[in-house]
Amino acid sequence: MEKTTGARALVKALEMEGVGVIFGIPGGATLPFYDALKDGNIRHILARHEQSAAHMADGYARASGKVGVCTATSGPGATNLLTGIATAYMDSSPVVAITGQVAKAFIGKDAFQEIDTVGVFTPVVKYAFQPLSAAEIPPTIKKAFYIASTGRQGPVLVDVPKDVQTEKADVEYPTSVTIKGYEPYVRPDPAAIKEAAKQIIQAQRPIMLVGGGAVKAGVGPLVLELAEMLMMPIASTLMGKGAVPEDHFLSVGPIGMHGTYHANKLVTESDLVIGVGVRFSDRTTMDVGEFEKEKVIVHLDIDPTEIKKNVKNVVPVIGDLSESMKGIINEIKEMMPFVKDSPWWRRLKELKEQYDGKVFGDAFSPYIVKKIRELLGPEDIVTTEVGQAQAWAEIFYKALRPRTFITSGGLGTMGFGFPAAIGAKVARFSANVVDIAGDGSFLMTSNSLATSVKEGIPVIVVILNNSVLGMIAQWQRLVYNNRLVAAWLGESPSFPDLAKAYGAEGVRVNGLEDFERAFKEALKSEVTYVIDVPISPDENVFPFVPAGKGLREMMT
C-alpha cells in the first residue's frame, strides 16, 4: 500500500506489466500522466498523428507477441486513435490504449475535448475500462493486459479522467487477476478431436489453411508435422503468412482474392479443408457457398463465435490451437500410416512447379517484391500498406518466420504499413524492417517520417509508385468498364524530396538493378530510407478473383 497519484500509479502499473515503450501524443487530458512518465522508466515515442501511434503499438505487438501500448488525449486524440484500434481489433492484435478523459464532473456535459470515448470504442475493442478513482487504476491495468493478451487477443481501452490522474489515494498493485465471466483458456473436447481426425483420414484431397490464429499460437511446427504425415498442401490466409515457412515444399502460399494461382486451384479441388486459426473471411473464401461446396471443413479455433459464422457446414474443434493440433496428430498417428505418395501429392507438385512465383502479364512490381525477399534475411520483417502493393506482397513475398509479415488484413487500413514498421523496428531493433508501400497509402501517414528520424528508428520504405490509387484503378478497369474516376494521384510529391525534408534519405530508382543497389544502401543506412520505384499506372495484380465470384474464377 502506498499513497500516490493516479498518474503515478498508472505509470508504475504499466512498468509492472513489463511495458518499456509507449507510442503517443500528449494532450490536455493526459498532462498528469505525461508528468508522471517523466519520472518513470518507460520510453515514450512521439507520434505525429494518433492513428499512427496506434499502428506503431500494433506493429510492435505483432512483431514481438507482447502487448503494445499507445496513448492519446481525450476528444480528437481518442477519435484519431480509433482507426488504429479498429485495425488491431480486426486482426486480433494485443494493444492497450490509454486515453485521457475530461474530469469526472465534466463528463456528459460536452466539455472541451470531451467525447464518449468508451461508447465510441466499445464496438472495436475487446473491453473498455474507465477507472473512476486512483485506487482502481492498478487493478484495471492488470485486467487490461490480461484481457488483451489471452484467449483470442485484442485491443483494450483504458479511459482515465483527468481528476482521477491527479487524485491521491492509497493504492495496491495486484499480482494476480481473475475476471468473472472470462475464461480465455479452452481445452478442446476430445470427442471433437476424434471426429476431426476421422474426417481428415477419410479425405482423398485434404488441404490445410492456416490463419492469423496459427501465427499467434505458434503452431507452425505442428501444422508442418500433420501436413507431412499426409503429404498435403499448406495454404494460408493473408493473416496466416509466415505461420509456416513459405519456402517449405508443402507450402503453397495464400488463397483468396489475391492468392497464388496454385493455392486457389488446390483449395478448389480439395475435398477437405483444415482451417487452423482462421475465420474464413470473405476475402479468403470469396463466394462462400461455392467455397463450401462438396467439401468437409474442419475448423479449429479458440473463439467459439467464429464457428459457423461464415462457413456453415463444419466439423468444429473449439479451444487452444496447440492442444487441438496435438490431439489430432495423436489420433491420426494411431489410425493410419504416413502417406508417401498419392495422386493428390503429385497434383500439388505439378501445380507448384508450374505456378510458384509465376508472374502473370507484364507487371514489374512482382520483381521488386521478389528482389526484396532475396535481399532480406529470414528474420527480417516486412509490413505492407493496403491496396495493390499489399496484394503484390501477399502473392510474391514469401514469409519464412512467424511475425515477419505484418499487414492490415481485416480492416484494410491504408497508412498502416509505415507506422507499423516503426513499431516493429522498436520491438526487434536488430531486424531490418521494410514497408512495401504504394504512393497512395504512404501519404496517409508519411508524417511518421518525423518520428522515425527524431527517435532514431530507421526503417526502409519501398514505394511502388504508380501515380494512381492502384487497386481502385484496377477495379475501375476490370469491373467498372474502364471508367477511371478519382484514381489518378499524379506525380506529386517527389518522395525522395519529401524524405529529405524530414531528414531521412530518399532516392528514385530506375529498373531492377538500380533498385538492388539502392536497397543495399538502405540496408546500411542509419536513417529511414525511402526508395521511390516508378511503376506503370496500368499494372494489374494477378491472380485476381473479383468480389462475388468463386475462387475457381481467377483472372490472370
Binding site: P123, K126, Y127, G181, D303, T305, I307, K308, K309, K312
Partner: protein, 148 residues
C-alpha cells in the same frame, strides 16, 4: 423461425445493455422484448430477451452473447418451456367489475389499472376494451422463468 427466450446473466455494470443491444442492431435481429431484472445475486443482473429466430440465428446470437466478457452465462429456451408474464399499466374509462375480475386488474388510482399475467391474455384485454376506451397503455415487456 420460432419464439425463443434467452436468459442472460450479466455483470451489474453500466454499458452492458449497450453491448447486448449492439448485437441486435448490427445483425438486424428483431427483438420482441427485453427485460432487465435482479435475481438476488450481488453485482449481477439477468436480462430476459424474447425474439423470433431460426436455429442458426439463435446459435449465432448465443455465441455472440457469450463472447461479451460481462456476460456470465446464456441459456436459451423455447417459449413453451417457460412461464412467461407481462406487466402493463392501462389508463381507461371505468372498467366493469366483471372485466376487472376476469383479467385480475388492480386499480392503482381511479382510472389506472395494473395487469400482470399471460401476454396473450393481455392482448385479449386490449381487444375487449377497444381503442376508444384505452387512453394510454404501457406494456412492460416479457419476464420469464424456466419451468421445472
Amino acid at each position: 423461425m420460432s419464439r425463443r427466450v434467452f436468459f442472460v446473466r450479466v455483470a451489474d455494470r453500466p454499458g452492458v445493455l449497450y453491448k447486448i443491444t449492439s448485437i441486435f442492431r448490427r445483425r438486424n435481429f428483431n427483438i420482441e422484448s427485453v427485460a432487465v431484472g435482479s435475481t438476488g445475486a450481488p453485482d449481477e443482473s439477468t436480462i430476459i430477451i424474447t425474439l423470433d429466430l431460426n436455429d442458426e440465428e439463435a446459435d449465432t446470437f448465443a455465441r455472440m452473447l457469450r463472447r461479451i466478457i460481462d456476460v456470465y452465462s446464456v441459456e436459451e429456451h423455447p417459449d413453451n418451456g417457460c412461464v412467461i408474464a407481462e406487466p402493463a399499466i392501462i389508463r381507461a374509462d371505468a372498467i366493469s367489475d366483471e372485466l376487472k375480475a376476469k383479467y385480475s386488474l388492480n386499480e392503482l388510482m381511479p382510472g389506472y389499472y395494473a395487469y400482470m399475467g399471460d401476454p396473450s391474455k393481455l392482448e385479449n384485454l386490449i381487444k375487449e376494451l377497444g381503442d376508444n376506451r384505452i387512453k394510454n397503455i404501457i406494456r412492460g415487456g416479457l419476464t420469464a422463468m424456466v419451468m421445472g
